[in-house]
Amino acid sequence: MKKVLTIILLTIVMLNGQTPSAETILKKIDENMISKNQIMTSSMIIHGRRVSRTIRAKSWSIGDTKNFTEYLSPAREKGTKMLKLDDKLWIYTPSTDRIIKISGHMLRQSVMGSDLSYEDMMESSDLTNSYDAKVIGSEEIDGKQCWIINLVGKTDDLAYHQRKIWVDMKLYVPLREELFAKSGKLLKRMELKNIINIDGRWYPTKMIFKDVLKNGEGTEFVIDEIKFDQNIPKYKFSKAGLRR
């Protein structure tokens, strides 16, 4: 009996020893997901209540502080540009030739009718500084073993007070994420798929977003092309760049 107990205790200790800390996992995720800069061409397939629409866009970004997006299609959206600089967001449409700042309650509105809000776009991906993280268990998703990390916001001004992330134990890439309000109500769900290796990084090229408070079948975000650590001209991240 003593032997059995000793084996069980040793197994628990060993297993605990194998589980890295939540901070270590988040750091490894950042190594995969965050680059100095990136240029990406993507398609956003929005499955609405009435119709499904595909919106193509090209975006340039530096870390998670600067982002410039230009919509390529359909015709109604073509030429629409968005600029994010730190916590500010501007939008430009050629039909109005206006640069409009998105602020206040507009930030909570959906981006192009998708399941993503402007606020989602504004959020910092630096989870370590914004949330207290803890590994709360493990689960298998599509045959891949994942750690489940629970993140609780350190401050009240976050769009989502709590997050739950399922992280691939092998590749250190999130496979699923659930976003909660302070009340504990589930607001959004995200599935990350088609993970491929690009320049030594493991990166999901398909993401499915679902705003659970919204009707519809969710939004697919497919990365058609992504390049890391490129030379991006400075003017891209200026308001003047919106009119170019």
Binding site: W90, R98, G113
Partner: protein, 424 residues
């Protein structure tokens, strides 16, 4: 007999003056309250009908299930054909297409960048076409504070309060930012042609009014609309008639399996107005009941006091052989005359106050700063045919009931006792 009773009442002021005064005060209050409630609640219903609900409204079933949502993703499509059908099948009703939307109004600086912006609630209404224009129905012309009505596409009216908040005026440019029917971004430039003040906080806080075709273009709603409003030929809402139309339409067009099939709803089924309609009819009844009850108690007491004062007189009349029933009936006849005079006087005074309230109104805007309900800020009474006779119901009823209660004592007095009293 009436002449005889009248002489008695005029000569003995204790029997007439105070009862008439108290009745006329109560009747004045009843008349005033009836006209005020009819006017105010009627205005709320009328406001809602003109701006929001119509007498009947056609929307999609999905929109009906999510009536609080302003987004147009649940709008009706194929409206040109549907409106044609409505015109054919219900020609007596005036059908109006409207688009309601929400978003931001952004004012540019000299570089075309955001100077100021604010949330708005918009109406896409027919202003440029002469057929079925909403200008009169929504009282837009009279609400104009500055500038002029839009005369061409691309012109917009904004509420006076919003103009002040955004520091813009007539001739300035403004960009609307919102969502199209399919959820994409909607951005459209407009020129402010005028400012309006509707006298309703819900509208004046942040309303913009654009032409229906401009709204269709901006929100990508070709051959689509948020709602089709129907107005009954009489111009006044009739719940039964409206329900008949709705039943007929829904039997033919509504499909419970298809969330985007059209459904016709009545005014009473929107914005909690069913409760309000119920309230209007029941409240007047409650006022009359309370008044009758309170006044009956007052008049009963006055009757008792009068009875005591006329104790000797009534006793003598009974002693010399007048029938108890006759004395009792004559007291009631007297009370009918008092009731008529009191009600007449009260109605005239009440009508005078009601007329003042109908023409001038009371401005309650300072108390409605945060009101989101569609209601006028100036409370006005409305004199209807009911106002002329409503006061007579409590006026007469309470006097008669009061006298009947007070007069019961007559039947309790024994003849033998009366003679003993008279001896004294």
């Amino acid at each position: 007999m009436i002449k005889f009773l009248l002489k008695g009442l005029i000569r003995d002021r204790h029997r007439s003056l105070f009862p008439i005064l108290s009745i006329s005060i109560g009747v004045t209050l009843t008349v005033l309250l009836q006209s005020w409630i009819t006017g105010y609640l009627g205005d709320i219903i009328d406001y809602n009908a003109r701006f929001s609900t119509g007498h009947v409204k056609v929307i999609t079933k999905a929109k009906y299930d999510n009536s609080q949502q302003m987004a147009n993703d649940l709008a009706i499509v194929g409206t040109n054909k549907l409106t044609e059908n409505l015109d054919e099948e219900f020609p007596e009703i005036t059908w109006i297409k409207r688009i309601r939307f929400a978003g931001l109004l952004d004012i540019p600086d000299e570089n075309g960048e955001t100077k100021t912006q604010g949330p708005v609630i918009g109406w896409g209404v027919n202003m440029l076409s002469k057929k079925n224009s909403d200008i009169e129905r929504m009282n837009i012309r009279k609400s104009l504070q500055d500038g002029k009505l839009p005369t061409k596409r691309g012109e917009i009216l904004i509420s006076d309060e919003l103009a002040g908040k955004l520091k813009v005026g007539v001739g300035d440019n403004a960009t609307f930012l919102g969502s199209t029917m399919y959820g994409s971004m909607a951005m459209q430039n407009f020129v402010i042609s005028g400012t309006v003040h509707f006298g309703s906080m819900a509208l004046d806080k942040g309303a913009i009014i654009v032409d229906f075709n401009d709204a269709q273009t901006a929100l990508n709603m070709e051959n689509a609309t948020s709602e089709i409003l129907g107005y009954l030929p009489s111009g006044d809402y009739d719940n039964e008639i409206a329900h008949n139309y709705a039943d007929k339409f829904n039997k033919k067009y509504s499909n419970s399996e298809d969330e985007f099939s059209p459904i016709m709803i009545t005014l009473s089924e929107q914005n909690g107005l069913d409760a309000m309609l119920e309230y209007v009819s029941s409240f007047i009844g409650i006022i009359i009941f309370v008044f009758v009850l309170a006044m009956s108690i007052v008049l009963w007491n006055m009757g008792l006091i009068g009875g005591l004062r006329r104790y000797g007189e009534v006793g003598l009349r009974l002693a010399i052989g007048e029938n108890k029933g006759t004395v009792y009936r004559r007291m009631i006849y007297e009370s009918v005359l008092i009731g008529i005079f009191g009600s007449l006087l009260g109605t005239m005074i009440g009508l005078g106050f009601a007329y003042l309230l109908q023409t001038k109104g009371i401005d309650l805007s300072s108390m409605m700063q945060n009101s989101s309900m569609m209601m006028p800020t100036v409370v006005k009474a409305k004199i209807t045919s009911t106002t002329f006779f409503i006061g007579f119901i409590p006026g007469l009823f309470s006097t008669i009931v009061g006298t009947m209660l007070a007069g019961i004592g007559i039947y309790k007095r024994e003849t033998a006792q009366l003679f003993r009293e008279l001896d004294v």
